[in-house]
């Protein structure tokens, strides 16, 4: 296993080789998932449970708030399986959860669940109704006061319909991102997504300040984590953003905030790690999104795929379904810099599906 450098040099990830990490999983519900056909990240009618189930599976190896591992109607299993497999073979030193507005809290003991008194946000086509300033400040304070127990942080997410809110966020901030955002579908449901984003953007105008815009069109994960990253940056913490275009949107928000609010931001302490499926996706362009930032950023893609697997549900990843989520890409990069073998991971992931 190895990784590809999307932007920057291999050095950031190379210097994390063998080091210990805190895996933080940011969990949130945006009711945008209720829009028919917008996401396949979960079981129809139960999509709101996906972040809850993902976190249960990554931490405890079983889902507790519903029977069965979340999978799409096409049978694509959640990328939480990939993250869990890596954790089994070269454990993250700590896993902690950030409850950024869940409908159902994960049923887990011992694993730290950080609570911030955040409600699920509304669907962006009728206004997300987030107190964005307060949420951002919660993230900022959490980052400034976060105790670093290990060498670095992997910050992952599980937010169904999150690529739609991420795209709306970037557009509301004025970035020209058309065609650059990924989807959990192989064939992205362009019409319903674009219609939703269009409706959402009708709620914002140029007179609004950045937080008013975010309040309407964004999601809790993006706003909180932009604050969290800026707070962590103040203490020079090394952070791997674990995700594709959603994490790119977090960075675009950080970029806008640094521009508007000024202040120091040292991007040398941050990198983004994603999957090969996102990096090579023809329907999106993670590299182009990251090149819109005014600061340099190291970004990497795992070279892991399921070409050596014979499991039909996993093969769907190689065809472009699911692609990323629950920190799968960063987990695979972490696996690469800790000497794990692709065959062993595939065997482990296949074993979950028996």
């Amino acid at each position: 296993m190895n990784f590809t450098t999307i932007l920057g040099t291999p050095d950031f990830l190379e210097h994390l080789r063998g080091k210990e990490t805190t895996f933080l999983l940011a969990l949130s519900n945006t009711k945008t998932y209720e829009i028919e056909g917008i996401t396949q990240a979960g079981i129809p009618g139960k999509i709101y449970l996906t972040p809850t189930l993902d976190s249960e599976f990554v931490c405890a190896g079983e889902v507790r708030s519903l029977d069965g591992v979340p999978e799409t109607p096409k049978g694509v299993p959640t990328p939480a399986l990939i993250t869990r497999a890596v954790h089994l073979q070269n454990p993250f030193k700590d896993i902690e959860l950030l409850n950024l507005g869940l409908e159902v809290a994960p049923k887990l003991s011992y694993f730290k669940q950080h609570e911030f008194d955040i409600e699920p946000s509304n669907a962006i086509n009728s206004g997300a109704n987030i107190n964005a300033m307060e949420l951002f400040q919660k993230g900022l304070e959490f980052g400034k006061n976060f105790t670093l127990k290990n060498d670095y942080i992997i910050l992952a997410e599980s937010v169904p319909a999150g690529t739609t809110t991420a795209q709306a966020t970037a557009k509301a901030l004025g970035y020209a991102v058309e065609g650059k955002f990924a989807s959990s579908f192989k064939e992205a449901p362009t019409n319903v997504k674009q219609e939703t984003i269009k409706e959402a953007l009708l709620k914002v105008n140029e007179q609004m300040d950045i937080f008013d815009k975010l309040s309407n069109v964004s999601d809790n994960m993006i706003i909180f984590n932009a604050g969290f990253i800026l707070g962590l940056n103040a203490q020079q913490a090394k952070v791997v953003l674990a995700g594709g275009t959603q994490m790119a949107s977090v960075l675009l928000l950080v970029n806008s905030l640094v521009e508007i609010m000024g202040g120091e931001f040292d991007s040398s302490n941050i990198a983004l790690c994603t999957t090969k499926w996102v990096y090579q996706d023809e329907g999106s362009d993670i590299k182009a999104l990251l090149e819109m930032l005014n600061f340099p950023i190291n970004a990497y893609a795992s070279d892991f795929d399921f070409s050596k697997s014979s499991h039909p549900a996993l093969k769907l990843y190689d065809e472009g379904e699911a692609k990323e989520g629950v920190g799968a890409g960063a987990a695979l990069c972490y696996a690469a810099v800790n000497g794990l073998k692709e065959e062993d991971l595939i065997t482990q992931i296949e074993a979950f599906l028996v």
Copy 2:
């Protein structure tokens, strides 16, 4: 994989099983490498680049200051490949570089490069021209103040022509080391080496103090590391000297300094680890060199070799070329006490040469 105890008991290395290490790579140029035929540690005309390229390859997996991995004119690849392969399969927790006088600094970000304002030393046949007292004190201070981040330190080196300066150093200190020093060549270039050492020794006399002698005939790596080891010893740090006869020369210098200057030296915190190729070399005698010390020392040799490889360039190691360097022997001992498999390492090393 396993290791052989050259001197002492297996216990020092056994108690490091599974522990975490800081791999320190001491890099230096002595212009002794310019003497025709004295070393094969690198590309003719570019031998001064070898430590720079070795460190780039170990840290980042690619050479940046020149195209291609350093190899000898006979095609023997640098032992940095061995060290890198071990790092890939069971990463050192931290890698840091000591710039002890390089002509070209490694092109690396994120990896700590300790700078001491040290110039490359001159060829010993015309006087190395080192401020040995100042250099020793830089090492001593660095050792006293070095922050131990992990359980132990592996101290490795890359110094082309370093076996020649090591031998001259030991002789100038009065040790009877004839025939006991190794070479990067299978058939050591005895004439040019002995001629160079003879010329170097003409620059020293019995009236000189130890530092004056070192100033003429030694190299930066040996003098600095003798100080460094004494400094680390003051804080009871566990250190593995990663190398063959060059590291033996560092110990011989420590031995002389302790004799001359008095003071406490607890050799139970130090061991030497080298390769099978050095240990079994008929042209040198690492064990005899270590037996000249007035203190007991644990010393080990990896039992790794390339008998299971079919790659002709690697087979040259088993014939006695290259033998050691860039911490290869200690990396292999570290691999042995961390459960790595010889076949996996060979596969990895072969993959670098495709």
